[in-house]
Subunit: 297 residues, 2 copies
DNA sequence: GCGTTTCGATACCTTCAGAGTATCAAAAAT
DNA sequence: ATTTTTGATACTCTGAAGGTATCGAAACGC
């Protein structure tokens, strides 16, 4: 038994006329006659009652016809489903992101993408910039929003966001409106471990040294929230992306940095070899949305 | 796309090994490799990821596999359903019966048949003996319990029941314990119209004439219940099948007839050309149950 | 590090199912 | 009675699916 047989069965049942059904199927009448008889013989049951005036469904045929139609519909749905995967209308994207991206990039990009591809399941996973490249290469992630450092040759990068760093300072003390490096170097600095985000780390230290001072790193913390909490606790100061200012935590004040301060950039990364239509669609969406990159916010 | 392709897909997915899957399918490895590739090419999506150590399901393949399995299961169910129709395990039987049969024959036969063929839908339709033969020939009925008269050559008959007639008499008067024809001929007779059940009609009149009297038919009624009601109303007397005595209606008494009385037989009839396994099974069941026919009850 | 093994892919051949053309047979319509 | 309608049959041919032999790449083992 074959889907074609069922298709023939349904066609003949619909017309109750072998010749017309054959024409509708785009084949000649004799093969259709034979196919129906072969199906009946295989199933061991007469699907039609032959009269001189065409054919009519037998009781068994009438009972089996809806089943056959359902099978054909399901087969069509299977094809459609496969086509959706092929075209990227359906599927799953595993996307990594650094916490910073959750404040600015993701809220702008994800709703647009989900609206355009409603069938795609997006799995978000927060991960630091150091673990994302290996995860991408291994295939555990399809896309990653990260702070790029040494570019992995297997990955492609698209800069999607660049923002200035601002100072996060414990409230309750007097701070300059626009503190400079020399002033801030007097305070203990709380920062990401260098291994987790080398470029952010280096940007902060470079800005301080440009101001002629060497900061003392007192604490390291991985989560942005943790850093802000430590600042609130008076453990020290930190330089954080400007969008963090949205996180209005009591005990913390934010100040723009003298001279604008260093910038940190977030890039979208994916496997260069990844030709999945989903990945390409997502990158395309990002490219369209963040065309005006490079300008610090 | 074809059910075979889906079967191959499911087999390879199950083993994650083309060679072993091919062995399980009873074909060689190269055709299976080609078939899978052809399916992927047709669907436009990679179902497997090829490694040096075998194949693994791609995300699309993993998503489509349950669908494919369901399709295969449904196709199998279709075959099974067809086989049930072929073997008579499923289907519908339209069975006609005269009201007399409802008191004796049907209650004995139907439960047995339904227990043996639980998948068969039995549609019962009460009909007099004169309308059943044409309905059987036309295919409106598959089987009929009727009082046979002139046998239709297109029908086959199996006697399933023979019972004596007894007198149904209005209560409130004195009746002999075993009335004879002469006594009963003094009363107006209520009977079926001859056209509806000629043999019953003739049996009654024959018995009366054998007793040397000619009865006067005052009323005709088609339903047995109606006849009994008319007797209860004092409109006359009737001769009814013995099993009607179960119908204890106030105002009616039953008496066995002198000399045993005439007998009426019920037969099962069906199209001689009907080779449906259902019909044959039902007839077989009846033949087994009513092997000891011919003996009047 | 180099043979060996494993496993899917490719090349080429063969066979049979399914499609086509021509025609028949039966029953209904005229 | 003849024509028309409609499915069934006979026969041929093509192509898809299967088989055998073999390749090529990657992993394994000594």
């Amino acid at each position: 038994m074959d889907l074609r047989h069922l298709r023939y069965f349904a066609a003949v049942a619909a017309t109750e006329h072998v010749g017309r059904a054959a024409a509708g199927l785009g084949i000649a009448q004799p093969p259709l006659s034979r196919a129906i008889r072969a199906l009946e013989s295989e199933l061991g049951v007469a699907l039609f009652e032959r009269g001189a005036r065409g054919v009519r469904l037998s009781p068994a045929g009438a009972a089996l016809l809806p089943e056959a139609r359902r099978l054909l519909r399901d087969a069509e749905a299977f094809r459609t489903g496969a086509r959706q995967f092929a075209s990227g209308e359906a599927g799953t994207l595993a996307i990594g992101f650094v916490s910073t991206a959750a404040y600015n990039v993701l809220p702008r990009l994800l709703p647009r993408f989900r609206a355009r591809r409603p069938g795609v399941r997006v799995v978000l996973r927060e991960a630091t910039s150091d673990v994302q490249p290996p995860a991408l290469v291994a295939g555990d992630l399809d896309l990653g929003f990260l702070i790029p450092s040494t570019g992995d040759p297997a990955l492609a990068y698209l800069p999607v966001h660049r923002e200035r760093l601002i100072a996060a300072l414990p409230a309750g003390r007097r701070w300059p409106a626009v503190p400079d490096a020399r002033r801030l170097a007097r305070e203990p600095l709380i920062l990401f471990p260098r291994a987790v985000a080398p470029s952010l780390h280096d940007a902060v230290l470079g800005w301080c040294r440009q101001g002629g001072v060497e900061p003392s790193i007192e604490q390291e913390a991985i989560q942005m929230q943790t850093i802000v909490s430590l600042v609130a606790a008076g453990m020290g100061i930190s330089l954080v992306p400007a969008s963090l200012a949205h996180l209005k935590r009591t005990g913390v004040v934010y100040r723009p940095l003298d001279g604008g301060g260093p910038t940190v950039s977030i890039a979208l990364a994916w496997r260069r070899a990844d030709d999945s239509p989903l990945t390409r669609a997502f990158v395309g969406e990002a490219r369209g949305l963040f065309r005006t990159d490079g300008s610090p916010t």
